[in-house]
Symmetry: C2
Subunit: 455 residues, 2 copies
């Protein structure tokens, strides 16, 4: 089965096929080579033009070169003396990203994932609100409360739980029909929390929600944050890349008013998993003050060079990979215009797909997308005449999982599905890769129809 | 300057030498190639046999092959459907590591760094102690207190601050002259904290401290944890690899009594930055219960395969790199015996270096090492006759930084130094790489003498 997106094997079978056991003595090289072949064979080809399963896809060859270099160099980015080049590269990339956000200056750090960036921001907002927490902790303090939309990424809950804030202190603000936070609802919730004696400290807006690809109205939200003195974090992990497109950056209008932004170039800009920046507007060294532990064995004060380059103490990590470098390499190679073209191309293809869905029988769009998430149902022939009542939705909810099973077993395509906010299982098509064409979009719809037409 | 460990340039000069600016249009391929050459040229060669600056060094070619493969495959390890092979590999590696700890069964996860593993453990212990915290947070609760040695890694403070516990609630237990936690002092501190109304919940022992390479007495500490009903976490990020050596595993006697263990194969076992496991004794799915957020778009419950393999919800990350795979490849290639030999070899070379230091004039050992950290002063000729009073120590404190500057500028060697627990700046030599020989140890001492003999 060549050229498949995946060669599906259930866990028990795959375990049999691979020789996973580590033994006392090593294996000969021909065995190892066979193992490598099997690993590649049974791994999902995330750079395949028909892999649409996640918010990343495709392969940028410049970024790949950078990644191969860093794997061979095996650096760890904490101090200038061990990672001189990669620290300067990180600084340059952060500076450029800050420019695209629209700040004059700022600070930042690359993290292992957007979830981690969101955690950083939450902790930073908490520290800004109450610096004593670093030493004293939260015990005895009022309930710290944050606000985010009902469509936010699940890392908000993870962060609140990890940071000792508690998931119940995440107030989920209602969204409109397109998945955007309703500013009036946000303000109501802030008043309500205050009335209940809680301590509001943070609003997390989302630019590009995970499922629907919705963009919260940042300007209106920023007004509210200003009125209430709240930190505004924008989770633009997915949508941030629209900033490089003059045509589409309006999706994030008002982002310059944020206090912090999470933006993952490994998604739309294909820098490779992982490449995730947290950007911070503050230039008073808040990141350092909040995170430093000043380990004397690593961050010696009597070094012979300018130790402001030893940025490792801004991080919760000790060893850290040089994730900015791979993005830098792509940016150098294709230029800002090249990045812009990729975003424009992905969004143009998304439009094409939307129009095709509208034309085809048996396909039903959930809503007009703003970005590269196209959410739709496939309605198999047996349901097409049925009234849209409870029985219809119940039956329809079984369709996407069944088609997903078939496409995985066939290996022709990978596409995600989910139930969401009362809507039964639907497909979410994510368009990213510049290697993807209109033919792939047509194939996608044809293939779903082929896989589901007997249902 | 070929074959140098590094080609030192101060930040301002290096910024001039590299063309860091990202422009609107891309650069031609010959420019990019030159850039790649410069990046390599000015990067520190961490796999050079004379790089002793961190707790990692060297390059394992099997691991490198694995890393090149995964960079090309670009997987993200959250669900079985996107990362079937890497999830099974992670499971197999965790199982094997759990065996070496001495548990019958257990659970675990690979994280971006030992610091992050320590955070996981701290949160897990807190959750076990008070599961309500996940939802309710810490506000209104008594001061949660944890105990670790004065020699612990700085990530303990970072974790306590990040998790909302507060650095003041980390009780640092006194150590003996060799850097080991004194169990009686630990118990005293637990009683004291109780008396003050705090809520002790966790003891973090260290197996292989960062500076001295000390191993806390786990059996005695485990007795105390049992008596007081406290979670025992062992930070064996650095020392854990001694477990694969029958000769040296006694350093970690009692580790099977821990509730959780952090162990980084990227250090002594050269898996490549990063490769860091958190291992947990509990098999009641505590990790999942503590960390899950159950995102419906990723962890669908109606999948067609056994979703217990979708382990991503155990993580604070969403996208996650397949760090277990590179270690697995090395283990497959060299076998447990090969890993054991590496550890034995590094520790034998450490002994060799210690004996050489004792023989040489002008070198003074801080203490007999237990592991691969050899801490020593170089005493330049001008100080050799001086009495060891305040003036001597003040002058000596300037020697290591000055020699470090010279070695960096010459590029002959990289070695760390630090002041520590009242001791003035001393060198810390870390022996890891199997590519390192006795000649390199001799070179190290000769070179320090050459660089410092005029001081």
């Amino acid at each position: 089965m060549t050229n498949a997106v995946c060669e599906w094997q259930p866990p028990e079978q795959l375990r049999q096929l691979l020789d996973l056991e580590m033994r006392d003595t090593g294996e000969p090289h021909d065995r190892l080579l066979k193992l490598c072949q099997d690993v590649i064979r049974f791994s999902v080809k995330t750079s395949h033009p028909r892999f649409f399963n996640q918010l990343y896809a495709g392969l940028d060859y410049y970024s790949l070169v950078a990644r191969l270099m860093t794997e061979a160099l095996n650096p760890s980015v904490y101090t200038y003396e061990v990672s001189p080049v990669f620290l300067l590269v990180e600084e340059a990339v952060l500076k450029k990203m800050i420019e695209f956000i629209g700040w004059k200056e700022g600070d930042g750090i690359f993290n292992p994932g957007g979830s981690v960036s969101n955690m950083y921001a939450m902790n930073l907002a908490r520290y800004k609100y109450c610096p004593d927490i670093k030493e004293k902790g939260m015990s005895g303090l009022p309930r710290f409360t944050l606000f985010t939309s009902a469509e936010c990424h699940y890392s908000m809950k993870k962060a609140a739980s990890f940071l000792g804030i508690g998931t119940e202190n995440v107030c989920f603000v209602e969204t409109d029909g397109r998945g955007k936070m309703i500013p009036e609802e946000l303000e109501k919730q802030i008043w309500q929390a205050r009335k209940e004696g809680a301590a509001p400290f943070l609003v997390c807006a989302t630019s590009g929600t995970t499922v629907l690809g919705a963009f919260d109205p940042l300007d209106e939200i920023a007004d509210i944050c200003e009125r209430h003195g709240l930190w505004l974090h924008v989770d633009a992990s997915w949508g941030g890349s629209a900033l490089v497109s003059r045509k589409h950056r309006k999706l994030l209008r008002g982002i310059h008013r944020a206090d912090s932004v999470a933006w993952n170039p490994h998604k739309m800009l294909m820098a490779g998993v992982q490449c995730c920046a947290l950007l911070v507007k503050d230039k008073s060294d808040l990141l350092k003050k909040c995170y430093s532990a000043e380990a004397s064995y690593l961050f010696q004060q009597d070094k012979f060079y300018d130790i402001s380059y030893d940025t490792g103490d801004k991080s919760i990590q000790c060893s850290r990979k040089p994730d900015a470098f791979k993005f830098w390499m792509t940016w150098k190679a294709v230029g800002t215009l090249g990045l812009e073209e990729r975003v424009n191309r992905a969004l143009a293809l998304s439009r094409y797909l939307v129009e095709e869905i509208k034309k085809r029988e048996g396909f039903k769009l959930l809503m007009e997308p703003e970005y590269a998430n196209i959410c739709f149902w496939y309605i198999p022939p047996s349901l097409r005449e049925m009234e849209e009542g409870p029985e219809f939705w119940e039956k329809l909810s079984l369709v996407a999982p069944a088609i997903k099973e078939r496409m995985m077993k066939k290996g022709s395509l990978m596409l995600g599905y989910q139930p969401h906010q009362g809507k039964v299982n639907f497909f979410r098509q994510v368009v990213i890769s510049p290697q993807v064409s209109r033919e792939d979009m047509d194939f996608l719809l044809d293939e779903i129809d082929i896989l589901g037409r007997d249902m």
